[in-house]
């Protein structure tokens, strides 16, 4: 036990004396949360639009007023003909153009239907999509208003409600993802680097030629990072609760327990990487390409899994982070417990045991 404590003490010396790793450890989570919270967002605010009103009647005027009074759109710019559409888009500020057809009011009354064309700048598909959704919903509301006295038989009115994240706040979506990435980074990348560093330095040779057993070396390497990862997880949750007013609906204890499970999972991946990497550089590259990129791209953090091609969907199921993100969203946003999340938890547990066993088995007691 004394050996073990001595080993852990040494690991903490390494961590606290290396300014670079300290920065990664504590600067990254804060920077990332701030970045995703404030800068990168799915929400639209004050988008510039242009309007081509060919009929210029009461109805179109009312609709235009509705749209401009919404906080999503601003700076409506009136244009006179189709030829101007391309040029306003090219200037880049205007993200959408609404075109009212000729005799809008008349057609609406006579034929019960009139057309508004919405053209969006889809160079940024997410924004384009959101703009057209918002415009649709404004139009829909207006339609209900003018129809309220008239009874039309069998009209189906879809009502959309954004459950769990009613305000569509993107920070709520990002927190689970960022937390997953940070834990992966700190746990897997940092452990694999710290083990390969000993290989590069040659100290691994001395550790091998000592009575320390392989699992003692591994556990000794892992314990400090479990500790640091837990601190990181706490920092992220505290930041998101207090700065972004993110609710945590479910049990904090369960959140903690699941996080520790994921941390151990990431650590065993880190050890696994270090068993076949000879240099810190390789370890860093492999952790980045093999762990971080898949977490960013395939775990449902940025792109919804359901919109991925089939083959990538299959790959996403073998990424531990996918399951951890589901669990996190479940606990934080939905407030559900083990009764619902047992399956995901079990999968994560299984993966952890598998990677842990594999990394201990692969850990070499000799140099080759």
């Amino acid at each position: 036990m004394k050996r073990f404590i001595g080993f852990i003490k040494k690991e903490f010396y390494h961590i606290f004396r290396d300014k670079r790793s300290l920065f990664i450890l504590f600067g990254m989570p804060i920077a990332q949360i701030m970045l995703f919270g404030f800068a990168i967002t799915n929400e639209i605010n004050n988008v510039d639009i242009a309007i081509l009103d060919k009929s210029k009647d009461v109805t179109t005027q009312e609709i235009i007023n509705k749209i401009s009074s919404s906080k999503y759109f601003s700076n409506k710019q009136l244009i006179e003909n189709e030829a101007e559409i391309a040029s306003v888009f090219k200037k880049g500020k205007v993200k959408a153009v609404l075109i009212f057809e000729n005799d809008f009011s008349k057609k609406l009354i006579k034929e019960n239907k009139a057309t508004i064309q919405i053209i969006t700048d889809a160079t940024d598909p997410n924004t384009a999509n959101t703009i057209s959704n918002f415009t649709n919903s404004i139009l829909h509301n207006y339609q209900q208003e003018i129809n309220k006295d008239i009874k039309i038989a069998y009209q189906i009115i879809p009502q959309t409600q954004m459950a769990y994240n009613a305000e569509l706040k993107s920070v709520f979506m990002f927190v689970p993802g960022v937390m997953t990435i940070i834990l992966m980074l700190v746990s897997a990348m940092m452990t694999s680097i710290s083990i390969t560093k000993e290989k590069e330095l040659g100290t691994m040779e001395i550790l091998l030629v000592s009575p320390l057993k392989p699992f003692q070396v591994i556990i000794g390497k892992v314990v400090p990072y479990i500790f640091l990862s837990v601190i990181n997880a706490i920092v992220i949750i505290v930041l998101s609760i207090f700065i972004f007013k993110m609710p945590v609906q479910g049990s904090l204890i369960m959140l903690g327990a699941e996080s520790i499970l994921f941390i151990i999972n990431a650590l065993s991946l880190g050890i696994l990487i270090s068993t076949f990497s000879e240099t810190q550089q390789t370890a860093m590259l492999v952790s980045f390409m093999g762990l971080l990129l898949p977490v960013m791209l395939l775990s449902g953090f940025i792109f919804p899994i359901s919109s991925l091609p089939n083959i990538l969907q299959i790959i996403s199921t073998i990424i531990p982070a996918t399951w951890y993100i589901i669990i996190l969203k479940g606990i934080m946003l939905k407030g559900v417990g083990l009764a619902i999340l047992w399956k995901e938890t079990l999968i994560l547990l299984g993966m952890t045991v598998f990677f842990m066993a594999l990394s201990i088995k692969k850990y070499k007691i000799r140099l080759e």
Binding site: R3, K10, Y13
Partner: protein
């Protein structure tokens, strides 16, 4: 026998690093493994310290088999790898304490053994080991390798890259350690470092050339060596190469070490030959054989 090596061979891919090596190191001996870079010294050290498994042959260290009883060996040997392998970001003191703890001992318990060496770096005990000079690093590494009172000490090229003063001190320290009953196997590429060894093994290209005391190895040298000097070194070498009776010609600092094929070599005749080649200030003097001469003769 403290170390026993029997017919050890080891290859990496298609490069054969050790070819059927056998020798023994007696208990309490200071034994030198002498050879250039790439001769196989480090590979042999790694086999003996259980870091590598030999393809063929067997080895025992302190009576334990290098494969079957590797754990016992790891408990009883001290190992100082070729490059400085301590934690650069830990202080002198922290390094020493760390190695004491992982070997299940304390610095106080075995302080007697390292006192001699450690006392020289103790004034810098709060300094990070990465900031020490080469000589001090080497002393710290030796202290760390000794802290658990090993039976056998393996030192792989401890004096490479270290200045002459520290090298000399280092060998003096080894001599004193030997008196405390520790068997020491040390490797070095420097032929002039053999003098303090009880016995040495000369190794080149994975083969042992000879094992004996330094004096015996020198005595085995079959020829008389002459120091030859002239005003122009390069022309002297060219001229000697053209001399039909030459056996070997090796530059040796300001001289050329020359041996002749014939038993009854006559320096006067060679002087005449060299003068005929236009060389001046020629001197030919018999000289002492060195380990390096022997090594080259054996490696030819």
């Amino acid at each position: 026998m403290s170390i026993k090596i029997e017919h050890i061979s080891k290859s990496f891919k298609d490069v054969s690093a050790l070819k059927d090596i056998s020798f023994e190191v007696k208990e309490g001996e200071l034994f030198g493994l002498i050879g250039p870079d790439g001769a196989g010294k480090t590979t042999l050290f790694r086999i003996l310290t259980t870091l590598l498994i030999a393809d063929e042959g067997m080895a025992t260290v302190a009576g334990y088999d290098a494969i079957k009883n590797y754990k016992d060996i790891r408990n009883h040997v001290g190992y100082m790898p070729g490059r400085f392998s301590l934690y650069q970001d830990l202080t002198v003191e922290e390094n020493l304490e760390f190695f004491a703890t992982i070997f299940g001992t304390t610095v106080e318990e075995n302080y007697d053994l390292i006192k001699d060496i450690y006392i020289q770096i103790e004034p810098f005990k709060k300094r990070r080991s990465g900031k020490l000079s080469g000589g001090m690093k080497q002393k710290l590494a030796l202290s760390c390798a000794l802290i658990h009172k090993p039976k056998v000490l393996f030192l792989d090229e401890p004096t490479t890259g270290v200045d002459p003063v520290s090298r000399k001190e280092f060998w003096e320290m080894l001599k004193r350690l030997q008196q405390k009953g520790i068997t020491i196997l040390v490797s070095t590429p420097y032929m002039d470092e053999t003098a303090l060894c009880d016995r040495i093994a000369l190794i080149q290209d994975g083969k042992i050339l000879e094992v004996d005391t330094p004096q015996e190895i020198i005595n085995h040298y079959p020829k008389k060596i002459y120091n030859i000097k002239a005003d122009k070194m390069y022309e002297l070498i060219l001229a000697l190469n053209a001399y039909e009776h030459n056996h070997s010609i090796y530059p040796f600092g300001e001289y050329v070490h020359y041996t002749d094929k014939r038993g009854d070599f006559n320096p006067t005749e060679l002087i005449q030959f060299l003068e005929g080649k236009g060389l001046k200030n020629i001197s030919i003097q018999p000289t002492e054989t060195t380990i390096e001469d022997t090594f080259m003769e054996l490696a030819r």
